[in-house]
């Protein structure tokens, strides 16, 4: 299990894990629980430039399609192709399953995101 203390979180329930200038992006446990069974993930194109807050991809549960918003601006370096055949991984291990890796334009953007304690509090208030 990754150490969630090293993760950053958005109000839209995405997580970011930073390695150097690379940002791994996924959805949180709260998000996967709210969505229910995930049956399809629409991944971005490798090489795409995506601004912070723009749509990075789409996750589809049995009931509905939900946008995934990009937590930090950057260029898509890699996408998790495994999700094409096994989208349920996002339900089973949300913090182990990244959706895309971005080369960040400006790591200072991370400062505006929540840390784990703040995010937990944010979720508790939302309930």
């Amino acid at each position: 299990m990754s150490d969630l203390k090293e993760f950053k979180f958005t109000r839209e329930h995405e997580w970011v894990k930073v390695e150097g200038d690379m940002a791994y992006v996924g959805i949180t446990d709260y998000a996967q629980e709210a969505l229910g069974d995930i049956v399809f993930v629409e991944l971005p194109e490798v090489g795409a430039q995506i601004g912070s807050g723009d749509v990075l991809g789409v996750v589809e549960s049995v009931k509905a399609a939900s946008d995934i918003y990009c937590p930090v601006s950057g260029t898509v370096e890699q996408v998790n192709e495994e999700l094409q055949d096994s989208p349920e991984k996002l339900n089973e291990a949300p913090y182990e399953t990244w959706i895309a890796v971005l080369k960040m334009d400006d790591p200072a953007e991370l400062d505006s995101l929540m840390d784990y304690d703040e995010y937990e509090k944010f979720c508790a208030e939302g309930d």
Partner: protein, 365 residues
Amino acid sequence: MLKRTPLYDKHLQLGGKMTNFGGWELPVQYTGIIDEHLKVRSDAGLFDVSHMGEIWVTGAGAEAFLQKLVTNDISRAAPGKAVYSPVCYPDGGTVDDLIVYKYAQDRFLLVVNASNTDKDFDWILKNLPDDCTAENKSDEYAQLALQGPRAERILQKLTDVPLNTIRFFNFVPEAVVGGVKVMISRSGYTGEDGFELYFDRDRAVELWDKIMDAGSEEGLVPAGLGARDTLRFEAALPLYGHELSEEITPLEAGLGRFVKLDKPDFIGKTALEKQKSEGVPRLLAGFEMIDKGVPRSQYTVEVGGETVGYVTSGSYAPSLGKNFGLAILKAEYAVEGQEIDVVIRGRRMKARVVRLPFYSKKYAK
């Protein structure tokens, strides 16, 4: 304020994830839609469908009135028989689809879609002749649907009524199940064999618990509205507001077998006759996605860049492991094998029209 069924607290206790369904606060799922869906197909599931509307039509003229109200023919139904039927406006658009339970020639129970109950009751009152009465008793009833291949075995533990003698779309008006007086109907909305039970709402928690206990060794699970929708979708059973609406006639929805144009008269007959003789302009079709993507209600369908219809329902089909959709298409394109494009977030995704239903119904004979 959302309405609640008598089982609201039970759903919370079972970990149900509550949602607003047409003004009712009901569980969309307990453990997960796919899990519940598959359990209904393999074993059995219990659904709280107490939100459905119940309207009694009684009196000397009841049968003649209903014969005029609905598009199907109820005149040949014996007491104890249930009849599915659309109800139309004079222009052929659909008011609702419902089940008519014939108790006697002067006594019928109509079970209607929850969100249409008030509209249907108003429509009934507007057309009601002097020789019969209509009463909306929806607030007095609870309804449970026990669905799946093990439904009969589970329910038989709780009643003396020989369930194997009840054929599909027949009912027993006064039965006792687990000490509770119920109407047992062999019917459902899942494509599986099963029963729908109508009874006093004050007994709902008690009967729910007794059925869950009786099914504990049969793999029975509580099932939510999410699974109810994917189950009915795979079986291509229409959902009002999607495959049927004021803008969609039953003929367009592919429900011609429930529209008896040889009946003397019914509301909408002239318009539907005209539609049939001139050729139904658009038809409901089922399609399977070829490209990756999940079709959803209201997505545009194109052929060669031209709009030819729209999706009415679409989903991942848990029993089939593929993505399917239902769409209203210009009639010429609603043919098996036709390739279509479903526009998903601005991109054309390939799909192919296939035969309905997606999942073959497993009703008891």
